[in-house]
Structure formats: C-alpha cells, structure tokens
C-alpha cells in the first residue's frame, strides 16, 4: 500500500546519503586537506591553498556530478515509463549520440571548451527534434515507432562518432575518448545543471501518479482519465532535455540512467511518486562517489568516471537482483 509517510522516509534517507557523498568528495583528493580546514573554508573563516582547492575545484565538481547523476537517473526513469521498457535508458533515443557528434566535431576542429559544450547541446537538440518529428509520423505515436526511430538515429550518430574518431589526430583521441565515457574535469559551473535537475523534478512530481498509469499501458491510462498523448509528448521532451543538459556538462556517462532506476525499483517498488525523487537523489549520490573514486584511485592520474559507475553499479545491481524473492515483494 503506497503511503506518503514511507515516501518521505525513503527520500530523507537518500538526501542524507547524497549529503554524505558530497562531504566525502570534499574531504578526499590527491592533495591532503584536514577535515577541520575544509569545514573552516566552507563556513567562510579560513583560507590557504587547501581552502581554494575545496571551494574552487572539489565543491563545483562534486555538485556538477550530483546534478548530472540526478539528471541522468531521472531521465532514465522517465524513458523506461515512456517506452514501457525496462531496458530503456536516457541514451536509447539518440540524445547522447547527437551530443557526441556535436562535441567531438568541436574538438576535431580544435574549438575552445565553450564550443564543445555548445556543440554537444546543439547536437542533442537536433537528435531530439529529428526523432520527435519522425516518430509522430501519422500521429499514432506508438512506442515501437518511437523506439525504432530513436535507435536508428542513435545508430547514425554512432557512425558519425566513429568517422570523427578515425579522422582525428592522435593527440586529440584521448580527450575524445574521455568525453565519450564521461568526464567531470571540464564540467564548469554546476549551477545550470543543478537548476535544471530541480526544475525537472518539480515538473514531474505533479504528474507522477499519471506516470504510474502510463507504465501500465496507454489504453489503461486513457480509461482512467490520463491525457495520454500530451503526457507522452511532455515526458519525451522533458526526458530528452534533462539528458541533453547532463551530457553537455559531463559527456556521455554510461550506466547511471539505466541502472539507478532499477536499483531504486528493486528496493522500493515502482510507484513513480517515490521512485522519481529517489532515483534522482540516488543517481546524484552514485555519480559523486564514482567521480571521487575516479580522481583518487590512481591519483594524480584520473580515470573516466563512466568506468567507475559501471564498476560500482554492476555488483550492487547483481546483488539486488539475486536477493529478490521469487514469490512476491515485501
């Protein structure tokens, strides 16, 4: 029986986990800083090199990781409902492919970072508009048509990426590969991504119960009073925009968008009113932890964060899956 009290309990726990992950990210790094010094700098009465590293490098990077993890996980949960397919992720409809073509093109021509971000966002939007326009077709808007259009556009983008990689001079390949696997070292200001994550969550919460019905089929949702066509269009556009912002900030970090919604679903069930905020928080926390590890395990060298998300997520996911009782839940 779904209840508001249980939802608030779950969200409080995940908020605490998110905060804990951020604190950890501030304390850990290749330059050792005492916890007292971190605290002093955060509360505004300290300084020195350690303080600059905490406030100027670690904090914005950790916040960007939190925002993008949340964006990707939320977008993944929305795509799984929209396509009614547990294997859907934020990238399945070609958003990240379009972004990759845009970003890697900018890198190929040696353009400054701002153009890499701009190219990534423009590429993502181009993919969204293409899929949206083609998938509507005769207006039927079935999800198999949407999925097929998205997968084909993604495949086209994949060919574009392969072409760019084969044309690129060797010294640029390294940064291109990092972009493709996801990398937070060029994230920039975390505030746009944080704002978009908050707005996205605020937009989906009022329609979360309608999404519960949509996940049970368009016809069922229609018979119970959901305006299915406009809801589907809204979910598609919102999910794609969230993904575009995340990919623009960090490159195409894999795994979070596919697996975090499943982790949360396996733990607390599929009620979107709990699942969506819980997924956003869990995704944020997981990416912060993964990024902290990515910049510390073989410091001073950094790993692409996408490698860590998968290395962390796969065992956790497999454990939860095997623990699931056969007969029922709870």
């Amino acid at each position: 029986m779904p209840s508001r009290r249980r939802a608030l309990f779950v969200i409080a726990i995940l908020l605490a986990a998110g905060l804990l992950s951020l604190v950890g990210a501030l304390l850990v790094g290749s330059y050792a800083i005492a916890p007292g010094e971190v605290w002093a700098r955060l509360t505004g009465n300290g300084g020195g090199t350690g303080g600059d590293i905490v406030l100027g490098l670690r904090l914005p990077r950790a916040l960007a990781a939190f925002a993008c993890g949340g964006l990707l996980a939320l977008a993944g949960a929305l795509m799984q409902v929209l396509l009614r397919n547990p294997l859907a992720d934020p990238y399945v409809l070609g958003v990240s492919g379009g972004a990759a073509v845009g970003a890697l093109s900018a890198m190929l021509f040696g353009l400054p970072l701002i153009f890499v971000h701009g190219g990534s966002f423009a590429g993502a939007l181009a993919a969204v508009v293409t899929v949206f326009g083609l998938a509507r077709g005769d207006g039927s808007w079935t999800q198999s048509r949407l999925l097929l259009t998205g997968v084909i556009v993604a495949a086209g983008c994949g060919a574009g990426v392969a072409l760019i990689l084969s044309l690129a001079p060797e010294q640029k390949l390294h940064s291109m590969l990092f972009w493709l696997m996801g990398d937070l070292s060029h994230a920039g200001s975390p505030w746009p991504a944080l704002a978009v994550a908050a707005i996205g969550l605020a937009l989906v919460m009022p329609i979360a119960r309608d999404l519960n019905l949509l996940s049970r089929g368009d016809l069922v949702a229609s018979t119970l009073g959901v305006k299915v066509r406009s809801l589907r269009a809204a979910v598609y556009v919102l999910g794609s925009l969230l993904t575009a912002v995340a990919v623009t900030t960090t490159g195409s970090v894999g795994f979070i968008g596919l697996v975090v919604p499943h982790l949360v679903r396996l733990t607390i069930g599929n009620d979107q009113r709990v699942l969506l905020p819980a997924t956003a928080l869990a995704g944020g926390a997981l990416l912060v932890v993964a990024d902290t590890l990515a910049r510390t395990v073989i410091a001073p060298q950094q790993l692409p964060v996408g490698v860590l998300t998968a290395l962390l997520g796969v065992p956790v996911f497999l454990y939860l899956l095997s623990r699931q009782p056969k007969g029922g839940r709870e």
């Binding site: 029986m1 779904p2 209840s3 508001r4 799984q80 009614r84 397919n85 547990p86 009022p206 119960r209 519960n212 019905l213 996940s215 049970r216 089929g217 016809l219 069922v220 229609s222 018979t223 119970l224 009073g225 959901v226 305006k227 679903r265 069930g269 599929n270 009620d271 009113r273 056969k326 007969g327 029922g328 839940r329 709870e330």
Partner: protein, 256 residues
C-alpha cells in the same frame, strides 16, 4: 432522468472497413447488455468507441446526459470504466497497488490513496477471491487470477457504466459464473450499467438483459435476450449452424 448511455446513428470503422453503421442504443442504470459476434466483427471497436477511447465515424454518444466528447478525461473516468482485453504489466507491482489504480480518477492531484480507498480495493479483491494475494507481485499471478484482478480494479474504480471486453477470458467455469454473479449483484445493488463483449451465447442469455448482435457488415440487431437469441439468427451470426435444446425448462444453444 436521462438514460445512462444514449447512442444515436453511430458509425464506427477500423482500417477503412465500416463495422457498425446507423446504430441506435439506449442503456439504463442497472441494465446489462451483451455484445455478440464473430472475430473481427467490430465488438472491441464498438466498445472502445462507446468508452471514448476512439472517435466515432459519425453519430452521437451521450453518457449521463452529456456528450461523450465534451466530458473532461477525469470526469469521464469517474462515469465509465473499461475492462480491457489485455493487461500489460511491464514493471512489477503488487496486487493491491494494481487494484488501487482504479481510484486514480477520484483522487486530487497531490492526494495519496486513503485508508477508505484501500478498504474499497480490498473489498473488490475479496469479492473476486484475491484477498489472500494482495501482496503478491502481478507477475506471479496465473492468467485467470490476473483477469479477476482486472475485474477488481474496475469495481474499485466504481463507475456508473462498465464496459467489459471479454470479462470471462482465462477464467475457469467456476470463476466465470462467480464473476458474472458478482457483476449481476453490482448491477442490481448499485445500479451499475454494463456492456459486455461475450463469446458464450448461453451465459449471455443467462446474465444479460439484452443482446446486441454485430454481423460484421455494418448491420446489427438488438433486443431482449429471450427474443433475439434464436437458432436461425445465431447460426447466421456465427456462420455455423446452432441448435436449440430444451433442458428442463431452460433453453441452451449448442453447435451442430
């Protein structure tokens, strides 16, 4: 007091083929109508048209005195419920959660299901014999249990008009009768009107007040079951000869 459902000059088509034309139909509260016809005759298409899930080709449908197309989706879902031919469970959910989706049209945007809603869902689950299974995942249910859950969801929705597409599919004999008795008592006690797509002529004769026969070429016949269901008409309807036999005062139709 207007009728629950009033249909005038209705035409419905699918894939360019007209399945129903010039249909007039009135259903009062507490009345049960069975729709009979061959596969592809347009039974589901007609049911979905009456439910407002697809637009009619022509004609006028009024539900509780209001034009169907003018009703807001949420209001429509309070007035009419639909039992679909197939249930899709892409994600895990408990039996109780699934019955509770019937309360969706009655809840305000930010409201959660109350204990009264849960009581209503549990009563419906008990009525179809699923009370013991309320915590089970829907994926672990048998076909018949899933079908009874769909009936319970419709009863939890508690609409004035129920449109049921093959409510007996997957059900064993015992549960076919139990579900039809349950629906009959709901029609009697709370005045819920029902339109049921059925394949069993004898059960339709026993559990419906009237029958609507769809011949698949646009023509249809409607009337009280005792008058309209006879061997020649049914033989024409199904394209297979049927014979009426008398078994101790009640008549049954069997295929030749």
């Amino acid at each position: 007091m207007s009728a629950l459902l009033e249909v005038r000059d209705l035409a419905a088509a699918i894939g360019g083929r007209t399945l129903v034309s010039c249909l007039d139909l009135t259903l009062d509260a507490g009345e049960r109508l069975a729709i009979l016809g061959r596969n592809g005759a347009g039974k589901t298409t007609l049911l979905h048209t009456l439910a407002g899930l697809r637009a009619p080709l022509a004609g006028d449908i009024r539900l509780c005195g209001e034009a169907l197309s003018a009703l807001a989706p949420r209001r429509l879902a309070q007035l009419r419920g639909v039992l679909l031919q197939q249930q899709i469970d892409a994600f895990p959910a408990s039996v109780l959660e699934t019955a509770l989706i019937g309360r969706h049209p009655w809840l305000e945007r930010w409201a959660w299901e109350s204990t009264a809603d849960a009581r209503q869902a549990r009563q419906a689950l008990a009525a179809v014999g699923l009370a013991e299974l309320e915590q089970r995942d829907v994926h672990t249910l048998s076909g018949g249990e899933r079908q009874r859950l769909a009936v319970a969801t419709l009863l939890t929705q508690d609409p004035r008009l129920g449109l049921l597409d093959e409510p007996l599919s997957h059900l064993d004999l015992n549960h076919q009768i139990a579900v039809l008795e349950l629906l009959a008592s709901r029609a009697r006690e709370s005045g819920m009107g029902m339109i049921m797509v059925m394949h069993d002529v004898n059960l339709a004769r026993r559990y419906a007040d009237r029958a609507l026969l769809l011949f698949g070429d646009g023509s249809a016949q409607c009337g009280p079951v005792a008058e309209i269901l006879d061997a020649p008409t049914l033989s024409r309807l199904y394209g297979h000869p049927l014979r009426r036999i008398d078994a101790g005062g009640s008549d049954y139709f069997i295929p030749e």
